[in-house]
Structures are given as C-alpha cells and as structure tokens.
Symmetry: none
Subunit: 200 residues, 4 copies
C-alpha cells in the first residue's frame, strides 16, 4: 500500500522544520521531545511520520545529495579543475547555509549505522559525481594520470569533508568557503599534469 500524497507532503513540511531545529539545537543532545516541542507536534505525530530517530540523519544527508544532483552538477562547465573548485565550494556553501550543527552531524556521522546502512548508498552519489569530473579531466589532459580516478576523487572528498568537520568543530569561526577555495587552489596545482606548467 503506497502512502498517500498528503502524508508525504506533511512529512516534507516536518522535515523542513526539523532541519531548522537541528541547527538550533545540535543533533548530539537533541531528543525527540526537543524536536517535537520546537516543531509544535506531538511525539505521537513524529512517530507517525518517521520510524525512528535516525531517520532525521537520513533526511540531513538526502538534502545535500539532492542539492548536488539538482543544483550543482548542471552548472559544471568544460574546465574540470574549475568544476572541482565549484564542487568543493558549493559543498562549503551548503555547510555555511546549513549551519554548524548540521554540518557537524553530516561530517561526523558514521558510515554504517547500527540499524541501517543508509549512508553507504547516499555517500556514493557525491563520489560518482566527482569521479565523473576527474575522469573527464584526465581525458582532456587537465588532470594528471599519475594517480587513479578513485584516488583523486577520494582526495577531493576527504579534503572537503575534512574542512566541514574542522569548521563545525571550530563552531563556524572562520569562512569555510574561502578556506576550502584556498585549499583546492593548492590541491589543483598538485594534480595538474606536469607538462601543463610548460605549455600553459
């Protein structure tokens, strides 16, 4: 039995509210009671729309994946190094807009949850996007072939998430977008093909 569109819509509304609540309260010490009080719903209602608390984390992750698929990927141009910069800058921007608490949760959440491995599938999405960028970059000779696509893609993701985690740990005390840009300008230099320096 499929769920009614009405229920689905209400759930979406709740998700928006919950995201705001998480940002104000943080996730670590956030209780279902907190969420419900802030969202002005009853505990029963929460459990009517969601199965368990960890659904909230899933929601958070789905948000960033959707954003990249729907809003970031379409803006990619021909310069793949530039696309990497766009990719990581957008990620930083998303963190900035989501706030410290959600960023912390996104960047420290375990890959495999006790009950469901909701992350393994989600996480792949960003990997696939960045792997596409790197593959094309190598084909166009914009990116070194000394390292494999997987290696470079991992470097990008790890660095990017590293900043998200660090920024959240530091309570958003610096401009994450600028920091990430600076870092990946350096990084991009490192993955340029060597002859690039000569011909460019």
């Amino acid at each position: 039995m499929r769920e009614s569109p009405k229920k689905s819509q209400k759930r979406q509304e709740l998700i928006q509210t919950i995201i705001e609540v998480v940002n104000r309260f943080g996730y670590e010490n956030l209780t279902i009671r907190d969420i419900c009080r802030e969202a002005s719903i009853s505990i029963g209602t929460f459990y009517h729309y969601f199965d368990e608390k960890s659904d909230v984390v899933r929601i958070l992750f789905k948000g960033i994946d959707d954003y990249f698929e729907d809003s970031v990927q379409p803006t990619f141009g021909n310069d793949e190094l530039e696309n990497i910069l766009t990719f990581v800058s957008e990620y930083a921007l998303y963190c900035h807009k989501s706030g410290v608490a959600i960023t912390r949760e996104i960047s420290t959440a375990p890959l495999i949850n006790t009950s469901r491995n909701y992350l393994s599938s989600q996480r792949r999405k960003l990997s696939i996007i960045i792997e596409g960028v790197v593959t094309r970059g190598q084909q166009k000779n914009q990116i070194t072939r000394e390292l494999s696509v997987a290696q470079i893609a991992q470097m990008v993701l790890v660095g990017m998430r590293g900043y998200a985690a660090d920024w959240a740990k530091n309570e958003g005390s610096y401009d994450i977008v600028e920091a990430v840009k600076s870092h990946f300008i350096v990084f991009n230099k490192g993955i340029k093909p060597l002859d690039d320096y000569i011909t460019d």
Copy 2:
C-alpha cells in the same frame, strides 16, 4: 599528598586495557560498565583511578600528542616538505596502530568539551609542530610564501584529520598510510614555490 607510584602504575596498566577495549567496542556507545566488564574491574575501581568517563578521551588524546613530541619531531630533517610527509605519515601510522575505534574518536571528538576544554590545549600542540615546519620551509624557500603559515598549517592538519575520519568511517578498509602519502605528495607539489619548477 602525592599519589603513590603504585597507583600511578596501575592506572597506566588500566589505560592500556581501556585503549584496547575502546578499540574493540568503539567509544560512542561505550559505557563504564562495558569498560569495567572487559577490563575485569569493578565500577568502583574505575572511579578509583579516574575521575569521570571523559578522562578516557583525554587519555586517548594525550597519547598522540606525546607520540609526536617524543618520537616524531626529533626525526625531522632539513627538507621541510619531507618533514610534512613524515608528519602526516606518522599520524596515519598512529591511526593504523591505534585501530579504527580510537581513530574515530580522536578525529570526531568535539573541540570543546562541556566540562573541560582539554582539547583546545592538546590540539594546539600538533598545530605548533606543523607551523614550525611550514615557517622553516618558507624561510628556506622550500614552501610558497603566497599563503600564510597558518593557512598552510591548517590545510595540512585538516587534510590529515580528514583521512583519519574517513578511514575510521570506512572501518579501516584501506591502507591509510599509503592514502595519506599519495595525498600529500600531491599537496606538496601544490605548495612548492613556482620558480622551484624552473630552477629545480
């Protein structure tokens, strides 16, 4: 009244046991009861040697700081880019030896704890070490001066910790030392002074 050497020694033994336990169980959902059961001591004994649960985290952090101060820093040579590689490789090695759970804890622990800011001081130690390396690197013209010491140091630390977190999230499924080395070979290229390419 100073603490007896015997008590101090026994505490050290317990710390070793606890570290092993944390690695087997993880920290997040680790309870005092778990620790005590695994270490075959009573709850009372745990509290005889430690003040509170978070002492365990402190212990974990102290370990890595001591290692860098005592064992890594003295091995630094003249080539500061090489020293950066040594630094991050040793960090990766420490993660590898400490195991997944402790690495996760070290890399996701909040910067500021509610009760004591035991991390802010600890965290500075690694910063200071790497900042020294970068400073000397710039002086010797081994590292670009286009970025500030603080910026580059942050890049190193964030990238390094990013790998620790990623590796732990992936349950240690890849060779963290190799991954980190590859990454920082790329990174080091990025922070070489430009003329380096010509004169070198």
Copy 3:
C-alpha cells in the same frame, strides 16, 4: 502551552499517594524507586509529572502553607492570645494528620536547599501570619510590648516547630495537640502585659 487539566489532576492524585508513601517509609531514605513501587507507577511516570526528587519536599511544604492561609487564618477572632493558641494547635493537628514521617521531614528540612530556595519563601508565610497576630495583640494591649513583634513571633514558631520535631522523633508517641496547647497556655501567660494581672 499550558498543561492540561487532566495531567494536573493526575499529578494531584499522585501527590496524595506520595504523601502516604512518605509517611510509611520516611523521606530520608526514600528512593524514587520506592515511591514508584508503592504508588504503582513506573519511574518514567514519576518524572513525567515531576521534575526532580526534591519536588516531593516542595509538595509537603506547600500543603501546610495552603492549609494555614486557606483554613486557619480565616477563623481568627478578636482575642489574639487565643489566636496564637489556635495557630499552634492547628499546626499540631496538621502534624497529627500528616503523620510522623512527613512531620519529621517538614520540621527538619534545611532552610535553604542547594538547588532552589523554595523554603525561604514558603517559611515566610507562617511568619507573616503570626507576626500579624502579635502586632494586633500588642496594639490591643493583649500582648506585652517588652519584646518586639519579631522576637515573640520567633518564640511561637520555634516552640511550635520544636514540638513537631520532638513528636516525630518520638514516633508520635504522645498527643501532640495536647502537648502544644499546654505549652502555649504557659507561654501565653508569659507574654501577657503585667498590668493585665491587675486589671483582669
């Protein structure tokens, strides 16, 4: 969001039960578990209706204050010495009806609690009532002016509470109402104005 009348009513019922339980068990060594077992509720339910254990003490005190404000004060007549007798007798009667354990708790509770000074405000209420009686008594020349209002009021309260404590310590082995009456007949003689003996 105001609390529902239903919750409020259920809390009142629980309070009644808890008062009985306190009387059977005493307070000093009373645990939440005891209360819940005896009241046939779960621990969670207790904390659903109350914030913390010490709420129970507050409840006990509120009871006696309400009783004096609502039921005793309105019965005061013109003879202020008689009113003192009414006051202390009613207090004794309240102890008698509340039982030994609650009386013990009421009479030995510290004036200032660590977390909230719920007593300082409560305690004032009885003081104010008795000070009013003494003031009027002095104005009507029914009570000596050789001592201040505050002094005499303190004497009444201290004596009265002294009996409550003593009676509770003796496990209610004597008739507290009679003992208090006898005492304050003596006391009242002591605070009559001297000329009273001549003119009366």
Copy 4:
C-alpha cells in the same frame, strides 16, 4: 578482651578531630573519605577505631551529655527558675561553641537509629537533669504545680532544642544564647505559681 588504653586514647584524639571536621563540612553530606582526608588518617584506620559511620553521631551526643553532667549541673544554685535559665543558656552556649553543623546534626538526628537506639539512653540524661530541677522547683514553690514535672521538663527541652534546630537552619545568623534567654524569661514567667505575683 578489653581494649588497650592506648587505643582508647588514640580514639579520643580522633574524636576531637572528627568533631572539627563535622563542623567544617556538615554531617549530611560528609563521607568517610572526607573525614579521613581531613583527619589525615586512612580509611582503614577509621574502621579500626570505629565500627560504622553512625558512631560519629554517637560521639557528638556523648559530648553534650558529658558537658552537662560534668560542668553544668554542679553550678546549679537554689533558685530553680534560675537553674532552668542556666540550663538552657548553657545548651545554647554549647551549640554556639560546637558550630552550626554539629548543632544541626544534634538537633535533627532521629531518636532511634536504624541500627542502634543509641539516642534513647543518651537523651534521658538531659531529661533527668531538668526533671530534677523542676521537681525541686515545685517543692520550693518556685514552679507551678498545675502541670506535672514531666510536662514542664518536656516544655523546657523541646523549646531549647527548637532553638538549636532553628539556629542551625538559619546558619547561625543570630545570637542563640540571647534568643534562648529571652524565650525562657518569658517561659519562666509562665510557670511561676500564681500567688507568686501577689507575694513577690
């Protein structure tokens, strides 16, 4: 097997220290550890000289009884009303000298302890002393015969202990000796034989 005089003496020394500690720390939240740390003895030593924690309370009570038997009673004169005043004043003075914490403990300790009724016997001592005073007072026609000896003795003790409790609850914020004196001057008026007012 009688205990050695040496052990007995050492115990006496410890008692003195413990009394001081109780006064500084209070009793309610005083742990054996606290006592031992402050008295600079080990926990084992405490249990070598005492059986259990509540021995400390016994010690406190024994102190006041000894004081009255040894130091107060011998000073009694012919005027029994004056002796009552001496009695209660000395009690107040003892409280003053013992400090707030010990006074609180003395005045709120239950009559019957869970393990031993160490108080019932102790408590009788002060009763016996004051009953002697009242008896002689009635014989000399210094005290009314309208009330029984037991009644009047109880009134004195209850009032006196009431002040001790009140003073401790108020953290020693007023002069207990003066307050007690004032109270019992009033009280003494109340227990004078009636004709006394005529003939005196």
